[in-house]
Structure formats: structure tokens, C-alpha cells
Symmetry: C2
Subunit: 185 residues, 2 copies
DNA sequence: TACAACATGTAAGCGGTTACATGATTCG
DNA sequence: CGAATCATGTAACCGCTTACATGTTGTA
């Protein structure tokens, strides 16, 4: 699912064919760092997106090569992409894949969109940390305490990372106004 | 896979039948907190374990109820369980499910086994933190920096949790010798 | 009377991985 | 001469989830 939205994101600036899209998920690429997508799966996703009306294909014949199927984002696809980029993920486990894909895609659209996404995710994460803290305080079983401590540790770390990413996004969004600014990478 | 080893762990002290094992994965149970196992899947796992020779079933007829199939751990099953409990998980993503199952099971066997498991996992985690740190230092792409920072945050948090769990396990293993001991929960 | 507990399973579908299939061109 | 690149897909399998199937006993 998440990968399909990332594909919509890649098609949002210009139409591209399958093999070209595959290059975005190769070794030593930002997206390839997050998710490994085999050719077979990529074409399957494109087929699904086409069936859902999120993309449309036009065939470009080539001499001595199989014709390319060039995909473009439809209005429905654009709407689906925007909705996806506007909402944070619900579960902690989805941070490492789906949220990173959202973040990558949002950054290609605009710094403001990325900042809004991070802020929304921070809120979800903070709420969950509070919930876990309450559960922890009410727990007495030693093993369940271990489990809750683990989840707390993970979610607190993730929240701090989001806050740091938030700050970094602000720096990128609004470049330094002072001439004595040592921040920003 | 991981759940099947946890089932072997549940059978290590005494033979039990399927429906009885299912209770261990219900609401408000330590194992149910970690993994939700439907009846259908539980019986499927038992079938696989039986086929693999890790457990054997004896049928106990009951009047006016379906006969129980009571499962016992075989020598092969015991060996597989011991091997599983002796090895840490390789990937960070496996901590929240497989490692917690290992930890739960190890704790039912002996405090020493649990302590050894935690120590082994600490080593894996620490190595990965070092590897990530090195990658981070060599990275310049802003998005990949975000990804690496996220992984670092998660793995550092997990490592701290393991160290804390290690300390807690030691306390449980060897109760306080000093009368002025303020630690332990 | 209806629902939960007891006790066992089968079947269908879904998302994902792995392998297979085709066939020309270019580079080492 | 073999390997990588270009360019598209199909087929099989695998683990997991959800729904379905059966039938009794005790409880609200």
C-alpha cells in the first residue's frame, strides 16, 4: 500500500515508465534505503494503481525494444496522494517504512508539507507515549513492565527524533536571517 | 515461526492441549500483550510442530465433548527450543515480537538463561549502533541522514532498555546482599 | 432464550518474496 | 563470449488474517 503512494509521488512531477521508476528503488538511492522493491512487485503495484484509476498509461513504441508504458497521475491519483501525505501513521511499527515514505514524498513536494506531516506525527507519538506511561504506572507484572518499558523507550526515542526533524525542517524552510548562524547542515 | 517456539516453551514443563494453550494468548495475559493468536492459527502451528516432530499428540476422549489432543514436547522439540532461546535476533524489527517471545520463554526456564539472552542481544544491538554511527558520519544526503538518525535513535533506546533489563535480571537472579539496597522495582 | 465456554479444525483471500520467461543491445 | 542494461511481465509459494463450520454444557 504505502509503496504505491510513494509511486504516485514519483509520478507527481512528470510521467514515467516502469523501468525508470525502478531505478529510484535501487542500491544507494534514498528510497532503496527504506524499501527494496523487486521489478515484479513494482509492475504489480503499477497494475493495481492503473486498475484503481490513480494512474493512466500511454504506450510509447521503440525500435528493437519492448514498448514503454508511460504512466501519468490522474486527478484521483493526485487526490489520493494528497490525502496520504496529510495524515500521520497510527502505529509505531509503521514509522520505519510507511512514515519514511511519506516523509520522503512530502519533502519532494514542499518543505511546508513535510513540516506539517512531521508535526502531525509528533502529536500521535506524544499521545501514545502518554498512554503507555499511564499503563506502565498501573502495571505490576514484571514481564509486562518489561514490554511497556521497551515500547516507552522506543516511542520516546522516536518522538525526540521527530522533534529534531521538525527543527531541521524549520531551518531548511526558513533559511537563517542572522548572519551569525552556525546551524543547518 | 517465533510463535511456534513460544508454544514449545509452554509445553516444556507439562503436556497441554490446544484450547488450553490458547488461553495463554488471551486478553490481559503477558503473551497476549505481545502477540494475538487466533484459534485457527494456533491449531495450524500445532499441526506444523507435529509434522516437524517437535511435539507429539495423545488423544484424551471426553464424554459429550470433542476429544482433547494433548501435546508433549519431544527430544527434538526440546533441542530446537534450547537453540532458539540461546540465540539473539538479528534485526531491530524482530525485537518487538520475536525477542519478547524469547525473553518471556527464557524467563519461564531460568533467570540465568534470560540474563544470557539479554546479554547476547545487547551485543548485537551495540554492534549495530556502531555500524549506524559510522554510516551516519559518512552520509551527506539530508534524507538519508534522517533515516539513519531515526534508526540510531531507535537502536540506542533499545540498547538502553536491554541494559536496564539486564540489571533487573541480575537483581532478580541474585537478590540484594546489602541491607541498604534502594534499587529494584 | 441467548450467550459464553469448551474443543477442534477448514477455506478463502491478501500482501509479499522468489523464481521464471522473453529478447535485443552494449560493454568488457 | 559472457554479463549488464533495457523493458516488460507471469506463476508459485508463504505467512498471516478473517471468516466459516460443528456441537455440547453451563450461565445470565
Amino acid at each position: 500500500m504505502a509503496v504505491e503512494y510513494a509511486l504516485l509521488g514519483l509520478l507527481s512531477s512528470e510521467p514515467r515508465h516502469g523501468y525508470d521508476l525502478a531505478r529510484e528503488f535501487g542500491q544507494d538511492t534514498p528510497l532503496g534505503e527504506v524499501v527494496h522493491l523487486e521489478h515484479s512487485m513494482l509492475y504489480a503495484h503499477l497494475k493495481r494503481l492503473e486498475g484503481a484509476g490513480h494512474i493512466v498509461a500511454t504506450v510509447e513504441p521503440q525500435d528493437a525494444r519492448p514498448p514503454r508504458r508511460v504512466f501519468s497521475l490522474t486527478a484521483e491519483g493526485r487526490a489520493a496522494l494528497d490525502a496520504w501525505l496529510a495524515s500521520p501513521v497510527e502505529h509505531t511499527r509503521d514509522l520505519r517504512l510507511e512514515f519514511l515514505l511519506k516523509l520522503y514524498t512530502a519533502r519532494t513536494q514542499s518543505a511546508a508539507l513535510a513540516a506539517a506531516l512531521i508535526a502531525a506525527q509528533e502529536a500521535v507519538c506524544a499521545r501514545f507515549v502518554n498512554s503507555l506511561t499511564a499503563q506502565r504506572d498501573a502495571e505490576s507484572d514484571p514481564f509486562r513492565l518489561l514490554v511497556l518499558d521497551m515500547r516507552l523507550a522506543q516511542n520516546r526515542a522516536l518522538l525526540e527524533w521527530l522533534q529534531q526533524a521538525s527543527a531541521a525542517a524549520r531551518d531548511t524552510d526558513a533559511p537563517p536571517t542572522s548572519e551569525h548562524n552556525g546551524a543547518a547542515a
